[in-house]
């Protein structure tokens, strides 16, 4: 599998570290229930899925990669950090 890193171009997936679902947002505050959901509750969709990958052997950027979990087709890959306004 090859991942189109927006910084490095299409690279071998072995350069990357997979983290998982990109959707959960870390809750602030003291709500243990919300933190539990953030940590442990995950959907497992068949189809398009936005997930986090770390280009550990490359530019060290965290990426949001949209990958189809059925076909492995990658339709989008962008930096997790919002791009600075031009």
């Amino acid at each position: 599998m090859r991942i189109p890193c927006p910084f490095c171009g299409a690279r071998d997936s072995r350069e990357f570290v997979f983290r998982g679902d990109a959707q959960p947002v870390r809750p602030g505050g003291d709500d243990a229930g919300a933190m539990f959901d953030y940590l442990y509750l995950r959907d497992n969709p068949a189809g398009a899925f936005e997930e986090l990958w770390y280009h550990a052997q490359g530019c060290r950027n965290w990426l949001r990669v949209t990958r189809n979990t059925v076909t492995h087709a990658i339709t989008d890959a962008r930096l997790a950090r919002p791009e600075p306004a031009a």
Binding site: M1, R2, A10, D12, V17, R19, R26, G28, D30, D31, A32, M35, F36, L39, L52, Y54, A56, R60, N61, W62, T71, H72, I74, L79, A80, R81, P82
Partner: protein, 990 residues
């Protein structure tokens, strides 16, 4: 040297001017360059190549290619012996040694052939039926028995003396197979300027142009191929890869290929690998992989001398070998008639041609009849007899029997396009009635099949089909293509009918030769309810051998369809999986073995340490000095005790360069650190260092280290050696994903700094002497202070940090100066008795000081477990804060860090031992914790240990039993504070 009685007088792409000598089962034979092991043995009349997997049936050569199921031999001897090598693909070299397999005591006389008598036991699913009871007997009796009786070649058991390497290639178009279709595809794509890789499994490109007697552009096949290869070689953007088999297709255009760099040589050339594993990334793939001929199932169809018709033609035309003297052709396809013509041309006596089809065009039969050969259309094959083959019994369309004293039976059951590569990503081949085979069907956007792989068997048609495939690929790539006229060629007849079996099939009629699956196994499986192709495969093991069912699979499906009354379009075919051909594990390992299994990292002063007698230990990829043995020291303990004593009473030097080091820059680094560590950092003054503990988000301790502030916006973090990469990733996650609004950059500088710890009561004196320009007084550089300075003109950093509990400093210089610094410190240090110490002494001193390290930061411990709970800030959020408050993580009954001393003062307390209350039965329910780190303390003169003990913080002064049933007896130990030495910390502040 023996003669080659079956070698034809003329023809073949072999170099008759040179003779090669080789041995098979100890007997000497000869051949020529261009031969395979199979063709050379056939030239000598050798028919018997091996014994079958289950029944030990004698077997000969079936094919002339990589799909060979029968003629598997062990190639070479000793450590280079390679079992299960296909004799049909082994290029002959001088001195080649091969042996047959799966026979005892000899190939000709095999005692295990009695398995045939027990054949009723070995039917489909016999594993599941026969060896069920008693369960105990499976391990002791049945499995060893089956393993000895059934099987293929054996590994040498010695280390492989050759090496294997990995490489990558990138292209616009990957063309797999260099037959006429592949050559046209590569020429077209190359001429359009596309980057092309053309990979062919053989030594000689050309495919069917080498094996069939054809004319192309007025030339014979091999001559045209030579011209095409020359044209391709002249294009710098085209790479022709010989002896390279593309064995798998993966996501995003990645292909696995194995290049047999030196398998055709006795040993690899100096500096060359034996094989090279390629990852070829292609934007478009054209499968010009050809088609594999199908056998036909009949009684005795596995007799040595029964051979696929295409293979017979190949041996005649390419190798100049007659695979027999008196031949019969059995065909269900037009191509069998071509073989009949080839046999006549080769001077073989053709006894009969039997076509299972009733209506065979006159154009095919007429030339054969004209040669005086009997033709049976609408015939059947009743049985093949003799080992090797001596009699063929056929029936004509009236049911009359005909017997032929034949030593060769050429079988043409039709052709299966080789589209397994396209199926690797889940594409399902479809049944095509017109060619009676499964083919690619509606291809994925980035794959095409061309020529025989697309079911187009004629030469002109194959080239036109390749042209169409290139046009599709070029369109997908946005490249304009203006193709030249295709070479002139004729199409031959290639009609085929779907015939799977012929004759009674009552005795041994094989579907899968390599796994000994018979027609009756298939019908039995169907009777027992295994009616899907995937169930059939698993129940009978049809197609599960090393040949991946390339010759057997579709016949099995045909018989299944017939038995279930389904159409082949309905049954479908099994899902092909990589690899197409067996690939040695060594090729996947590549250079990653032995010392090169993973990178070895040396610190800047590695050579200095080695010269000082260091014994190294692996710390991740790093080599760290474990201790420095002096010549008179005979045990490691002597060295370690000396190093500890010297450091506690004088001054020691330790290379701590392997610690992870991260430089952080930005206005918000303090805020980021506050969120990464449980304790506060934002208020840390410039020039100060602080110890910190990080948690994972689930509340468990992750890593510890120090952070030093060198300017308002410039910070320096250390991590443990083991977690350096993980912490870097964690920080990047925090600053890029969790809090991208923070102004904080981070970069690993682990390899940029060489760092040495100078510890002991005389550390300051030594440093003052070694760094005369720096003020190292307690006022200028107090405990936990840090200064940026220069050493020999380069940036350097001096920290007042202590892991040992002594007055201690860490001095960092750019890595290229590390060795120079160590030599300088040692030169100055002779006055002070400076003693280098390794990780063992470091470990002893940190246990004496009760510092948690890797054994305690093991992923199961919380800050409170480690006695660090009070560090946790109550006034800020940080990663892991909420989850660390879960009830189970704040349970006072959790194991907490304590110290242990043996009550008798001498018994060793071993790490890993479990803790029990005195008098408790050793049982998991009474387990109260475990010893995490242990050592002999030369400072205290007694063994000591750190342990994690339930309610540990409240049990200082109690006795526990250290239970170690594996390594020794129980030891009574006293629970104490984990800080054994200088609990007030006076030494490190002095």
């Amino acid at each position: 040297m023996s003669a080659q009685p079956f070698r034809l007088a003329h023809g073949g792409l072999i170099d008759r001017s040179r003779t090669l000598t080789f041995t098979f089962d100890g007997k000497s034979y000869t051949g020529h360059p261009g031969d395979t092991l199979a063709s050379a043995l056939l030239a000598h009349g050798v028919r018997l190549f091996g014994r079958s997997f289950k029944y030990h049936r004698p077997r000969g050569v079936l094919t002339a290619g990589s799909e060979e199921p029968n003629a598997l031999v062990t190639l070479r001897e000793g450590a280079r012996a390679e079992p299960n090598t296909r004799a049909t693909t082994i290029e002959l070299f001088d001195g080649l040694v091969a042996t047959s397999q799966n026979r005892w005591p000899s190939l000709g006389f095999d005692l295990m052939a009695v398995n045939q008598l027990a054949a009723p036991l070995f039917v489909a699913g016999f594993y599941y039926k026969t060896f069920m009871w008693p369960a105990k007997a499976w391990e002791k009796l049945y499995e060893p028995l089956i393993r000895r009786a059934a099987g293929l070649g054996a590994l040498s058991g010695q280390e492989d003396p050759d090496h294997y390497e990995h490489d990558h290639a990138f292209c616009d178009v990957l063309v797999v197979g260099a037959g006429p279709a592949g050559l046209i595809a590569a020429l077209d794509a190359g001429r359009a300027g596309l980057r092309v890789v053309l990979a062919d499994e053989g030594a000689m490109p050309g495919g069917q142009l080498l094996t069939e007697r054809v004319q192309i552009d007025g030339q014979d096949g091999p001559a045209w191929v030579a011209g095409a290869i020359a044209a391709l070689s002249a294009m710098p953007h085209v790479r022709v890869m010989r002896r390279t088999t593309v064995f798998g297709r993966f996501d995003d255009g990645e292909h696995g290929a194995i290049e047999q760099v030196a398998d055709h040589l006795p040993v690899p050339l100096p500096g060359q690998p034996r094989q090279r594993l390629w990852k070829i990334v292609a934007r478009q793939t054209i499968l010009a992989t050809g088609a594999t001929e199908r056998p036909i199932v009949f009684d005795g169809n596995d007799r040595p001398g029964v051979m696929l018709a295409g293979a017979v033609s190949t041996y005649c035309n390419r190798y100049g070998v007659a695979p027999g003297r008196r031949a019969v052709v059995l065909t269900a396809s037009d191509s069998g008639w071509q073989t009949a013509a080839d046999l006549i041309a080769a001077g073989v006596t053709l006894l009969a041609v039997i076509d299972t089809r009733a209506g065979v065009p006159e154009i095919l039969t007429a030339p054969i009849r004209a040669a005086g050969v009997p033709v049976l259309t609408g015939g059947q094959l009743v049985a093949a007899k003799g080992s090797p083959l001596s009699q063929v019994i056929a029936a004509d369309n009236q049911g009359r029997r005909h017997s032929y004293a034949a030593d060769l039976l050429a079988v043409a059951g039709g052709w299966n396009p080789q589209v397994a590569l396209a199926a690797h990503l889940g594409h399902k081949p479809v049944w095509r009635e017109d060619i009676a085979a499964y083919a690619l069907g509606a291809a994925p956007a980035d794959v095409s099949a061309a020529g025989a792989a697309d079911g187009v068997y004629g030469l002109a048609g194959a080239m036109a089909s390749a042209r169409a495939a290139v046009l599709k690929a070029a369109a997908a790539l946005g490249t304009a293509l203006t193709p030249a006229a295709l070479p002139a060629a004729q199409d031959t007849a290639h009609a085929v009918s779907a015939v799977w079996a012929t004759g009674p099939c009552k005795a041994k009629a094989f579907v899968d030769f390599q796994h000994d699956v018979t027609a009756s196994d298939v019908t039995l499986a169907v009777r027992e309810g295994y009616t899907s192709v995937e169930h059939l495969k698993r129940y009978t093991t049809l197609g599960m051998a090393t040949d991946q069912g390339r010759v057997s699979q579709v016949n099995g499906h045909g018989l299944l369809a017939a038995a279930t009354g389904k159409a082949l379009a309905e049954t479908g075919t099994i899902r092909a999986r990589p690899p197409v051909v067996p690939v040695a594990i060594g090729a996947f390992g590549g250079h990653h073995r032995g010392r090169q299994f993973r990178p070895t990292r040396h610190t800047a002063s590695h050579d200095w340490a080695a010269a000082r007698g260091a014994v190294f230990v692996d710390a991740g990829q790093w080599k760290r000095a474990q201790w420095y043995a002096l010549p008179h020291e005979t045990t490691w303990r002597q060295s370690v005790d000396r190093e500890v004593h010297a450091t506690r009473n004088g001054v020691g030097l330790c290379d701590v360069s392997t610690l992870g080091k991260i430089e952080l820059i930005g206005a918000d680094v303090g805020t980021l650190l506050d969120r990464l560590y449980i304790n506060g950092f934002a208020a840390l003054p410039v020039g100060k260092a602080r110890y910190g503990l990080m948690l994972r988000e689930d509340g468990f301790a992750m890593d510890d280290g120090t952070v030093t502030r060198f300017a308002d916006d410039r910070w320096f973090m250390t991590t443990t050696t083991a977690n350096a990469a993980r912490v870097m990733q964690h920080i990047d996650f925090a600053r890029q994903v969790l809090w991208p609004d923070l102004d904080a950059q981070a970069v690993s500088v682990t390899e940029q700094w060489a760092t040495y710890s100078i510890a002991g009561p005389r550390a300051r004196e030594l440093l003052a002497a070694a760094l005369p320009d720096s003020d190292v007084s307690n006022v200028a550089l107090p405990y936990m202070g840090a200064v940026a300075m220069r050493w020999r003109g380069y940036a350097a950093r001096l920290f007042r940090l202590s892991f040992s509990g002594e007055l201690a400093y860490e001095l960092s210089v750019p890595a290229h100066l590390g060795a120079a610094l160590v030599h300088h410190l040692c030169d100055v240090g002779t006055l002070f008795g400076l003693t280098p110490y390794g990780t063992e002494a470091l470990g002893v001193m940190r246990i004496e000081k009760g510092h948690p390290a890797g054994n305690e930061l093991n992923g199961w411990t919380t800050a409170a477990d480690l006695g660090l709970g009070r560090m946790a800030s109550k006034t800020k959020d940080y990663i892991g804060r909420i989850m660390a408050g879960r009830p189970a993580l704040v349970d006072p009954a959790r194991p907490r860090l304590v110290g242990l001393k043996p009550v008798d003062g001498v018994s060793a307390v071993r790490a890993g031992a479990h803790l029990l209350r005195p008098g408790a039965t050793p049982a998991p329910s009474h387990d109260e914790g475990y010893v995490s780190s242990a050592c002999y303390s030369p400072t205290l003169g007694t063994p000591i240990a750190l342990a994690l003990l339930a309610h540990g913080a409240d049990r200082h002064g109690e006795d526990v039993v250290v239970h170690d049933p594996v390594r020794g007896a129980d030891v009574r130990a006293l629970v104490c504070d984990p800080v054994f030495f200088d609990p007030a910390g006076e030494r490190l502040r002095g």
